[in-house]
């Protein structure tokens, strides 16, 4: 009895929804409803972007920050990707980097927090692996990095950087259009827990990132990334990344890193595998 009453109620709700649906098909009514959903007026103008590249993109080139950097030989085949040329570290931080590079040569990248499922953050979100999805909506460009399910929001509604931003993995990004180029500035990037790539290159809390993203005539999407960090670098560090479109049938997979992360810090300080208990007789 109670169940059938519930069914009736559900049917009623469904009918009401169906009746309401045609009203939203009317553009004018839909726009009014949309406007009413804001407490104040929408924070953006009706024309939001001159070029549109919503869709799923594939990183081209190697999975590291500087795609042109030659990497050191890796005789132990450990996955080390230390660049031959050093990043533009100042004297103090070059020493720290060289120690990290020495560990790299041993294959010990114990300073890569993503081994324990933290977000890659910026700029790694733009240089990762698998797919990079762009969603362009009024007032905001959103990227979804398939690796780690990382969502990044770039505000294009004209707001400025916060006066005292919280430090986060992605930092705080605002964007504006210069002709057909989306220019993005990012500040307040978590400096304790993010690195540039698996080589362990690090930055400070002063890091600012400028990106110039545009669609090339070739159909590639380009992101020219300039990193400015006066605390650790002697000059801006600039790289150019490109992405190509996935076929429309490509489905972005779920990536829940904590699902089955069988790694721990071993006795030597490096990441090691966690094995299952042996079968009992």
């Amino acid at each position: 009895m109670r169940a059938s009453k519930m069914m009736l109620m559900l049917a009623g709700v469904a009918a009401a929804t169906l009746m309401a649906a045609p009203a939203f098909a009317d553009t004018a009514t839909g726009a009014k409803a949309l406007a009413r959903s804001y407490k104040t007026k929408p924070p953006y103008s009706p024309i939001h972007f001159p070029v549109e590249w919503t869709g799923v993109w594939k990183y081209t080139g190697p999975n590291r920050f500087d795609p042109d950097a030659k990497v050191l030989p890796d005789p132990s085949n450990s996955g080390s990707i230390a660049p031959v040329e050093d990043p533009p570290y100042n004297a103090e931080n070059m020493a720290k980097w060289h120690e990290r590079k020495r560990q790299n040569a041993l294959g010990i990248v114990k300073d890569d927090p993503t081994a324990f499922c933290t977000l890659p953050g910026m700029p790694r979100a733009m240089t990762g692996t698998y797919s990079l999805e762009f969603l362009m909506t009024p007032g905001q460009v959103t990227t979804i990095t398939e690796w780690m399910n990382q969502v990044r929001r770039i505000y294009t509604d004209g707001r400025s950087q916060p006066d005292d931003p919280d430090y986060t993995y992605n930092g705080h990004s605002i964007g504006h259009w210069e002709n057909d180029t989306l220019v993005v500035d990012t500040v307040a990037i978590n400096w304790k827990d993010t690195i540039f790539d698996a080589s362990g290159t690090f930055h400070s809390d002063a890091m600012k990132i400028n990106e110039r993203i545009r669609l090339l005539d070739s159909g590639l999407l380009e992101d020219v990334i300039t990193v400015i960090d006066p605390k650790v670098f002697t000059r801006p560090w600039m790289v150019r990344k490109t992405y190509k479109r996935f076929q429309p049938d490509y489905e972005v997979g779920e990536y829940s890193c904590a699902e089955n992360n069988r790694y721990e810090i071993g006795p030597d300080g490096a990441v090691n595998a966690v094995l299952k208990p042996q079968p009992t007789k």
Binding site: P62, A115, Y130, A198, Y255, C257, R262, A273
Partner: protein, 124 residues
């Protein structure tokens, strides 16, 4: 123009020797050595992120049974290599299973290649 070409070739050659995925370093595995496990029986294929894992049981000459944990690719990469969640099922026999063993000697490693009874080869 010529310089651009050289840089491109360098970048391309580097791409193939560097593992596409860098969730963690591979230092825990001895990737310069192949170890062969004979007549392994599949216990489970963990179809999970950040890696899929193949758990197999191997009987030693003295009759003891050891469970080996083998790291395989993340789901996305595994799919790109033609794997599905049904590539290995519990009870499947793998006559010849090649791995990069853990350096510390524990029964685990990185999956390299399986040759099945019907001659089919599964690689990662």
């Amino acid at each position: 123009m010529k310089k651009t070409l050289v840089v491109t070739i360098l970048a391309a050659s580097a791409y193939f020797v560097v593992p596409a995925y860098a969730h963690h370093s591979f230092a825990m595995f001895d990737r310069t050595a192949d170890k062969v496990l004979s007549n392994a029986i599949v216990k489970e294929l963990e179809w999970t992120n950040p890696h899929t894992w193949l758990e197999v049981l191997v009987t030693n000459p003295d009759g003891t049974v050891v469970e080996w944990g083998l790291e395989c690719g993340p789901i996305n990469s595994a799919k790109n290599h033609g794997w599905t969640k049904r590539t290995f099922s519990p009870g499947d026999k793998i006559p010849t299973l090649t791995i990069h063993p853990l350096k510390d000697g524990r029964p685990g490693g990185q999956f390299v290649k399986a040759v099945l009874a019907n001659g089919k080869i599964v690689e990662y």
